[in-house]
Symmetry: C2
């Protein structure tokens, strides 16, 4: 636990809880611009790298072959709330390859957006794999398999062509070699590879700038970033950090949360990439940390970011009872 | 952040996240049996002390005067899921003093039990203050005010007789002097006082044994513990740690969660009290820590506790992907 405290949770005049973690801001050539904590220890980036996992869908030509539009490409990069529009786009992606939700191997859960869950219950329906927050990524995997003229079944296995393409892309973008058999299993059942924050941040600087990527991959990254910037609702949903921040920042920032306190971001206009891991896995602290880092490195983004840099905590009567506060290491 | 790591979150062969914190096990005379981390720093116990906050309701004679039964007394100590049975008992408590939910000053929120929230939506109703997880405690405060022949309105203010009684009881049980004006505001709008873990643990040893309490207070504590042991559903609800553990352990343990990673427990049969604070506020880690400590100090409780000491993490397909693991300091 040598990592510095990144965020303090304040109630009244007292620090109630503390979140330690690591972060790094890199350029695409590998120069470290700012960092704190253990940035060379491999961590599971979880869903923060969905944009990298979606690259083969575009690079392979599958997205064009099946006519996937920008909403679909944004959903392929998403951890969405299972709201009706997300579900409709996931279904449309599968229909484009003549498939349906029975092909999805991510499992089912109630929509993570509570209101969408209640609306689904009121409609009398049960959740399906389309409501899984990863259904867009998985629909993209099914489309990729079809584009490669492979049988989609089993696409979650590390041995399947889809996951081999994804793994090679991850290695190519981050420059980090992923040892065979070293992976965990993600919430949606695909392999989860651990990668140091330093390699993730440099990879996202490449995603943002194209520097160090082959032309086809650089174009695919640009297309995915632009798709998400055009449809930020698709990448998360109502009342969600990623959607709100990207709605405000447009193409200045691609920002993606991962489970267990991870964030990755690409900042094309300033040529930087960022990776954050809150050591205890808390999303609330990772949000504050990435907001503080975005504010520091994106001139003119104050209006969008300031509510997220020091979010006020209110209780059930709407009274202000505290705040989440970034520590000096993030901003100084 | 000098506190030791208490719980590791493991995915595959790798530690994905780590939770540091502090804990102490005490007897009622103030002897420290086991501890780790900063146990003398005041922390907000939040809802972990509801059983202490409910003592005046019984001690004052109000519970008897209004015929509150064991279900009601258990709900007065609860952070409940807003399930139908919880809501019915809270309404019954208010009816016993000729009041209704319009007297509650805790605010409204959708039931914290997701299934109860969906059921409420399907019924076409909106959540009220009765669904607030603290509604039983607040209904108890309204009953206490009526028992003291005070107007309940404003019972959440530190200046109201109800909160002055609660504060004096907290000081009496824990032996820790609460400075005027030093409090924060809790999620349900009552004052939140910070108290060191050492004082909380000794206080819970007293709650469990009666040692060091006046006879009337010792009897009130015993009555509340027995009410919760008889109706563990009331104190939390379906699929909840406190309810499951107390359903298994009966009167051997009174266990109560608080927000931001707090647990307090009274172990009457072995004469001990426990207090835990996960430094980052994570309930998942505080559950593992209290389960490991209960297992260590309660002979014969393995069947109930072992599933909670090293809970398996499963993904949306039901695959085992990892586990929460207590570190050696908790058990050795």
């Amino acid at each position: 636990m040598g990592d510095p405290v990144l965020v303090e949770v304040v109630r009244g005049a007292r620090v109630e809880s503390r979140h330690a973690g690591a972060f790094v801001v890199m350029d695409a050539d590998g120069m470290t611009v700012h960092s704190g904590g253990a940035i060379d220890a491999p961590v599971f980036p979880r869903s923060a790298i969905k944009v990298i996992q979606a690259l083969p869908l575009v690079e392979s030509g599958a997205a064009d072959r099946f006519g996937l539009d920008d909403e679909a490409l944004a959903l392929a990069c998403a951890s969405h709330g299972g709201e009706a529009r997300h579900v409709a786009v996931a279904a449309r992606m599968l229909a484009a390859v003549g498939r349906d939700e029975s092909c999805l191997e991510c499992g089912s859960h109630w929509p993570s957006h509570a209101g969408a869950g209640r609306a689904l219950a009121v409609s009398g329906a049960e959740p399906s794999a389309l409501h899984n927050n990863c259904s867009g990524k998985h629909a993209g995997f099914v489309c990729l398999a079809c584009g490669l003229d492979e049988e989609p079944r089993g696409y979650i296995s590390p041995a399947h062509r889809v996951q081999r393409e994804v793994k090679a892309t991850l290695e190519g973008v981050t420059g980090f070699a992923l040892a065979e058999g070293s992976h965990g299993i993600d919430g949606c059942s695909i392999p989860a590879y651990a990668i140091p924050l330093r390699a993730l941040a440099q990879g996202f600087a490449r995603i943002g700038t194209g520097t160090g990527l082959a032309p086809g991959r650089a174009a695919a990254a640009r297309r995915l970033r632009k798709a998400v910037a055009a449809h930020p609702f698709m990448v998360a949903g109502s009342e969600r950090f990623d959607t709100t921040v990207m709605s405000g920042l447009g193409e200045q920032a691609f920002v993606k949360v991962g489970a267990e306190g991870v964030f990755c971001a690409a900042l094309p206009t300033v040529g930087l990439g960022i990776a954050v891991k809150c050591g205890d896995g808390a999303t609330r602290a990772a949000e504050v940390a990435i907001a503080a880092l975005l504010l520091r490195f994106l001139p003119g983004a104050e209006a969008t970011l300031e509510p997220f840099v020091r979010p006020v905590l209110r209780n059930w009567n709407g009274l202000e009872v505290g705040a989440l506060c970034p520590t000096e290491i993030l901003s100084s």
